[in-house]
Point group: C2
Chain length 598, copies 2
Amino acid sequence: MPTYRAPVRDTLFVLNDVLGYGNHDNLPGFADASPDVVEAILAEGAKLAENIMQPLNRVGDMEGCVRNDDGSVTTPKGFDDAYRQYCEGGWLGLATPAEFGGQGLPYTVHSAVSEYLVSANMALMMYPGLTQGAVAAILAHGSDEQKKKWLPKMVEGTWTGTMNLTEPHCGTDLGLLTTKAAPDGKGGYRISGQKIFISAGEHDLSENIIHLVLARIEGAPAGVKGISLFVVPKVMVDDEGELGERNAVSCGAIEEKMGIHGNATCVMNYDEATGYLLGEENGGLKAMFTMMNEARLGVGLQGHAMGEAAYQAAVDYARERLQGRALSGPKAPDKKADPIIVHPDIRRNLMTIRAFNEGGRALILWTALKSDIAHLSDDAKEKEAASDHLALMTPVIKGVLTDKGFDHAVMAQQVFGGHGYVEEHGMSQFVRDARIAMIYEGANGIQALDLVGRKLPQNGGRAVQAFFKEVGEFCEAHRSDEAMAPLTKALKKGLNDLQAASLWLMQNALQKPDNAGAASYDYMHLMGLVALGLMWGRMVKTAQDRLAEGGDADKAFLEAKIMTGRYFMERVMPETAAHLARISSGSDTMMAMPEDAF
Amino acid sequence: MPTYRAPVRDTLFVLNDVLGYGNHDNLPGFADASPDVVEAILAEGAKLAENIMQPLNRVGDMEGCVRNDDGSVTTPKGFDDAYRQYCEGGWLGLATPAEFGGQGLPYTVHSAVSEYLVSANMALMMYPGLTQGAVAAILAHGSDEQKKKWLPKMVEGTWTGTMNLTEPHCGTDLGLLTTKAAPDGKGGYRISGQKIFISAGEHDLSENIIHLVLARIEGAPAGVKGISLFVVPKVMVDDEGELGERNAVSCGAIEEKMGIHGNATCVMNYDEATGYLLGEENGGLKAMFTMMNEARLGVGLQGHAMGEAAYQAAVDYARERLQGRALSGPKAPDKKADPIIVHPDIRRNLMTIRAFNEGGRALILWTALKSDIAHLSDDAKEKEAASDHLALMTPVIKGVLTDKGFDHAVMAQQVFGGHGYVEEHGMSQFVRDARIAMIYEGANGIQALDLVGRKLPQNGGRAVQAFFKEVGEFCEAHRSDEAMAPLTKALKKGLNDLQAASLWLMQNALQKPDNAGAASYDYMHLMGLVALGLMWGRMVKTAQDRLAEGGDADKAFLEAKIMTGRYFMERVMPETAAHLARISSGSDTMMAMPEDAF
C-alpha cells in the first residue's frame, strides 16, 4: 500500500520564495495568515491527510458506497469519523467569511492544504468539496436571509451540499434541461425531474444535504435563458433552523463506476420537492457558473493531487524493487540486483511526473493568489488583472492538469510492472480515480472551447496579451544570465509557438469556427506548457538566487529544483511545436469525413 | 452496451490491395488459403466474434473468475460454451501444422481473425492465446515424442497452455529466478517454487493445463545462463495419452486486478511437481523467447484490437448522442440538438483513433506476412530480410500499439463524457482491459530497450538500414505525384527525424549506455510513427489507384481512407520532431538527480 507525505517544504518554497505570499498582507485575511501561521496550518493539514485520510483511501475503493432499500446510502467504514475530524478542525470553512462561521483565511492557503487532503483521499474529500462549491454559490447569489439560514451549518459541515445539473439527455448542453419548477404559492417552488451523476447526492455523513438544482420555471424561455437555480434541502428546515420533515427528493440509485468508489454518485429524483429560488429568475446558468469556476479549479487540483500521490508511490517502489543492473555497471553490488531507480527509463517516468507536479503546484498556487487578489484587492487595476488571469487559467488548470494527472498516474503504475495492475498496491485506484477529473465539471474538450471561444477574445484579448507580456518579459529579463539562458530560450520558443497559434486562430477561426474547434484542445495544452514553463523559469531563478545566498540547509532541495526545471525544458517543452503544427493544419481533414464514413 | 462489427472490408483491403497477399502462393499453406478462402474465413471469424464472443465480454468483466476452496477456478458464465465453439471451429490451430491437428494456414490469416476475436472478448481469447504460445514453444523445442504427446490435444483445445516466468521477486530480471528443478531419477524433474501473474493458470475450460515453467536445475549456473524450461502438466498423462493423477501443482490464489477479469491470473504453487525438460538444459531463456516473440506480437494485437473496439463504440455514441449545435450552424434542425459527431473536437478524437487503428492493422498484417515469409520461404535472401523485419518490428508493435490502444480507449471513453465513467456503457472495461497490454510480455520500457539495445545494432544495423531504405524509396517514388506529395513530404520529415535520432544514438550511446536508456522510449515511438506513416503512404497510394481505376462500389471507403491518411500525416506525424528533441537531450538531467532527492 502506498504511503503519502505531504510536500510541505515545496509548498512553502512556492508560496514564500517564488510567489512572495508575505507581500500581500494588505489584503483582508492575509494579515491573520502570516507565513508563520501558514506553515503551522500546512503542518496540521499534512497530519490530517497522512494519518487520517490516507489510511481510508483503499478502504473507500474496496467497500464503496451502498444504497440501502430505504434509499439511504452508507459510506465506507471510517469515513464518518474522518469527516467529523475534518469538520471539527475547521477545515471546511477555512476560506469562508467569519460571519458565517468560517475562518476567513486566504483561498491560497485553502488550495495549498486541499492538495494534501485530496492526494490522501480524493473520494472522501469530494463530500466537503461539493459543500464548498454550494457555499460559494449561496454566498454570491443568496439573499441575506438565505445566507443566514443555510450557510452556518454548511460551513461547519453539519449539512453538506451538492450540484444538480446533469439529466439523462442533458450534460454539456444545459439548454436541453427539463426539470421543472412550479410556484407553490407560498414563495417557494415544487421541483420535479430526474438528475444523474450527482456526487455526494445521498450519504450518511451529515444531518442534512442542501441540493442546488437547476430547473426551468413554468413558462420560462427555452434554452439556457430559461434556467433558474434552486436550493432544495433533503430535510426541511424551519425558521428557527430546526430540521423537520423529509423533502420529496430521494436517491433512486447509485452508479457503478470506474473509480472514486468512496463517493456516492447518485441518481436523484425530485418529485414535487420544495425548493427556493437562489438569485434571479432565469439567472440560473450565471449563478451555477459561480460554483463551476471554483469547482473547475478544484478539479484541476484533483488531477494534480493524483499525480503527486502516484509519483510518491512510484518513487518508493523504484527505490525498493531490485531488478537488473544499471547500464553503467552495478550500483548495489552487495545486493542481488540494483533498485530499478538506476534505470534511465524508470527515471524518465519519475522525472516527467515530478516536473509536472512541481510546475502544477506553482501554477495552482499562483492562480489561487490571483483569485484572492481578484476578490479582495481594492486596487482596481490589480483586481482587473488578477480577474483576467483567473478567467484565462481556470480552463487551462482544469483541462491540462487533469489530463496530465491521469497520464501520470498511468506512468507511475507502469513503474510497478505487473504489480501495478493488481489492486493490492493501490496504483490502479489512482488511475481509476484520476480518470473522472478529465470528465466532470465540463469535460476537457469543453474547457478547451471555453478557453479558445470565450476566454481568448474576452475584452479584446486583454488577458492573453497580458500573459504573453509576462512570459516575454521574464525571458527578456534573464536571457543574459548564463545559468538561466537554456531555460529562457526554451520558454521563449514555447511562447513563440503559442503566439503563432494565437495569430493563426485570429486569421483562420473568425470566418470558420470549425477551425477554432479543431484547434482548441491542442491550444489548451500549448498554453498549459507555456504557463508551466513560466513557473519553472521562476522556480529555477529563485532556487539559483537562494543557492547563491548560501542556503546550505536547503542545498539538496534547491539543486533538485534546478535539475527538474532543466528536465522540463529539455523533455517537455519540445511538445509545443507539435501542438502548433496540429493547430495550423486546420479543420478540413476532420470535418470533410461524411458522418456515415466513420 | 457497445456492439462490435468486425472490419472485414478493411482487412481485405490491406491484405489484397496493399500487401498483395495473393502473390505469395508459392509459400506452403498460402495456396490452400487463396484470397477467396481467406475472405470466407474472415467472414466466419467475424460471426464468431460478433455473435458469440462479444456478448460475453461484459459478463466476463462483471462476474470475473472465482477460485473455489478446493483450488479449482470457475470462469464466467458462458465462457465454456463459447470456448467450445471456438475450438470446434478449428480456430485454435488455424496456423498450426496439419501434422498435429492444425489447419496449416498462414500466420497472416490467423492474425487477421485474431483481431476480431480479441476486440470482441480479450479476456476470453487469452485462454487459447496462451495455448498457442505454448504450442509454438513445444513445436520449436520439443522432441518428436513430446510433440506427439502434448500438441494434438492442445491444438484441438482439449488441453490449454500457460507460460510461467514471473516470481514475486523476479519479473524482468529472470536471472533472479529461484524455482528449482531436481532430477527425479526417472528422466523427469521435481519442480518446486512459486510463480505469480500466471494468466489462465487454472480454470474450468479444459481437461488439462500444460504449464511451461522456467526453473533452475540443481547446480546450474547463476543468472539467466542457468535457467531451463519444463513442461509441467496439471494432470499427469500416461504413455497412451490417458489422464492420470493430479500433479503437485495448484492455484494458490487469483489476483484481484484492474481488468481482464474474465481471465484467471493465478499464483501457482509447484510442490515437487513432475516436469519434463523442454529443449536443452540451461537453454530455457532461449526457448522461452520463442514463445515470447510470438506472444509480443499477440499483445501488440491486443492493444490494437482494444483501440478498434473502443473506436466503434465511440462512433456509435457520437452519432446518437444529441448535445449542442455545430459551430457552423445546426445540422439536425428538426432535433433538439445535433449529434455530437458534428463537433470538431469529437472528430479529433475519433479521427486520431481511426488513423492509428487502420495504420496499426496494416502494420500488424504486413509483419505477420513477413513472419510467414521468414518461416516458410526457401529464398534465403527473402527469408533473411523478412526475419530482420520481424525482429525489428516486434518490440515496436508491442510497445507502440499497446500504448496507443490504451490511450485511444481513454479517448473513446472521453467521447461518452460522464456516461463513459460508469461501468454500464462498457467503456471503462476497454480502458481497464487495454491497460495490461502495456505491461505483460515485457513492459513497454523493456520493449524500447530491446529495440535500441538489441535490434538496432544486430548484424551491423542491417534491419534498420533496410527499413530506412524502404521508407526513403517510397517517398522518392511518389514525391512527384501531386496527390501524394503532402503525404510523402510528411513521411520524409519523419524519416529524417528517425535517421537523425539513430545517428545521435550511434554517436552518443556507445560510450555512454545511459544515453541509450534515456532515448529508448521516444525512439520506439518515433520508429512506430514512421512505420505507421509508411503504411499510410501505401494505403493512400493504393486507394488513389483504385479510385482512378473507377472502383465505384468502394468509392466512399477509398475516399475515407485517403482522408484518414491525410489526417495521420497532418496531426500525428508532427510528433516525430518532439521525440527527436527529447532523444537528443541525452540522459544527464535524469541521471544527475541523486536517488534520495526524488
